[in-house]
């Protein structure tokens, strides 16, 4: 349970940093991080001692060969005025097995 909380706190910190995009945001992000310094420290130490976030990276550490690759891509539209530098919902590096 505490491991999940620790991961959540660190993930929230990552979100804060990610959201601090422009000039004014940088200052606000840093203030928020300083205000969260205690929980962040506790979460970091929890993960360092208990290692509840660690697992075997089967997706990258297992030998595999890819052959006969076929690509079939179609342009379907255009999006403008997007605020994020990354596509929303991008999951190509997300692993489903924990």
């Amino acid at each position: 349970m505490t491991g999940v909380v620790a991961l959540d706190v660190l993930a929230a910190a990552g979100d804060v940093l990610a959201s601090a995009g422009g000039g004014e945001g940088d200052g606000r992000g840093l203030v928020l991080l300083l205000l969260l310094a205690g929980p962040l420290f506790a979460g970091w130490q929890h993960l360092r001692y208990r290692n509840t976030d660690k697992r075997h990276h089967h997706e990258s550490e297992t030998r595999s060969q890819m052959q006969d690759v076929q690509a079939d891509d179609t342009l379907t539209g255009r999006r403008t005025g997007l605020k994020s530098a990354r596509m929303q919902g991008a999951n190509s590096r997300k692993v489903t097995t924990r």
């Binding site: 422009g22 310094a37 420290f41 297992t62 255009r78 924990r98």
Partner: protein, 423 residues
Amino acid sequence: MSDVHAPQAGAEGTPDPGTGATPAPGFPGVEPPDGPRVVSTEGDRGDGIVRCERCGASDASLNVATGMLRCNFCRHEWRTENALASFDLDGAIGDLRGVVVGSGTAAVTADPAVTLKCTACGAEVVIEAGVQARCHWCRNTLSLTEQVPNGAVPDMVLPFSVTKADAVTRVAEFVGKRKFFAHRQFKAEFSPENVLGVYLPYMVVDVNTRARLTGEGEHQTRSYTVQVRNAKGETHSERRYDADVYDVRRTFDLHVDDLTVESSTERLDRDTSRTSNNVINTILPFDVENSVRYDPRYLQGFTSERRDVDVDGLRGAVHQQVRDIARWRADETIGFYDRGVRWDTTDLDVQGERWVSAYLPVWLYSYLQTRKDGSTLLHYVAVNGRTGETMGSVPLNWPRLLAVSAVVEAVGAVAAAVLWVLS
């Protein structure tokens, strides 16, 4: 959303390794394909006394320094042949069709305890745990070599190559870096020389599949700055992006080699609130291609855990891991989509798969923590018995950690206030 088409029936088939299997926790069962081809890995040895080829003594064990078996009477050393090569279980994965299994993967149906008749004096000796016992009359060492379907005898074994002294050093170093916030009782009782060599049960799987992924990708076409006015009427600059959107499809053959999964119910439970099995999972992978034919004498001086999950119980988990590998490999082909790709489906059309059961070597230091509410948590520090990779779980001294965190929070709050005033 994903789909799996299981491979069709193999060419030959006798025992069904899937009957009576239980799905691994968290994974749906997948329909077992009919009639796997079973490769016998049992050899011609019977249960009972396995003798040294030079002097005939029954007592031999692994010499970790050389990786060879050594007779404990005449000191003669010999090497056992490579398992995958000698049983022709290392053929090209692209040629795999149907399901091929080692005979050591047979469904676990028998009672764990096995009674052996001593071939020297005729006494009956019960082996309740492990695969070896001494005859209580004539003191010969008896070995369980035949593959009784109780999960105790696998197809192959990977001998330890990391010595106990090395494992003790690695455990001590790992814990030594985590002492300040460690639980007081753990620190007081920490004794790394109590590390234990354990052969844990795994399934090693090769998969030949066609993978098909579909989704949507974005390619950035423009990046620019706009002036934005907030509720107070103040303006500030923000970044904006334009992107082309594509339907993305990738289809390719994927040959997965030596995917290794735990095959005991206890080790598959990786809920970190009640176990620290995840640290044992972390020390994968092993160089399983160097495994040798199973010989119980490799286990002498170590302990072993029995397999209690069958091929069918693990198939869902294995296919899920193959999907993850497919996505990972597909990432190499989507460089054009610099804003990312969202995969919506990952389908597998499995052409063939090959399953081999194995004992793999792990040095384990364990500590049972009893918490204030009476519940217990078993912490492990695990060392890969081949590569030396080390990972562990050290119980925390929460009062100390919270006190230090409170000080850090106070300093952070003061710094935040100063920064706020200055800005």
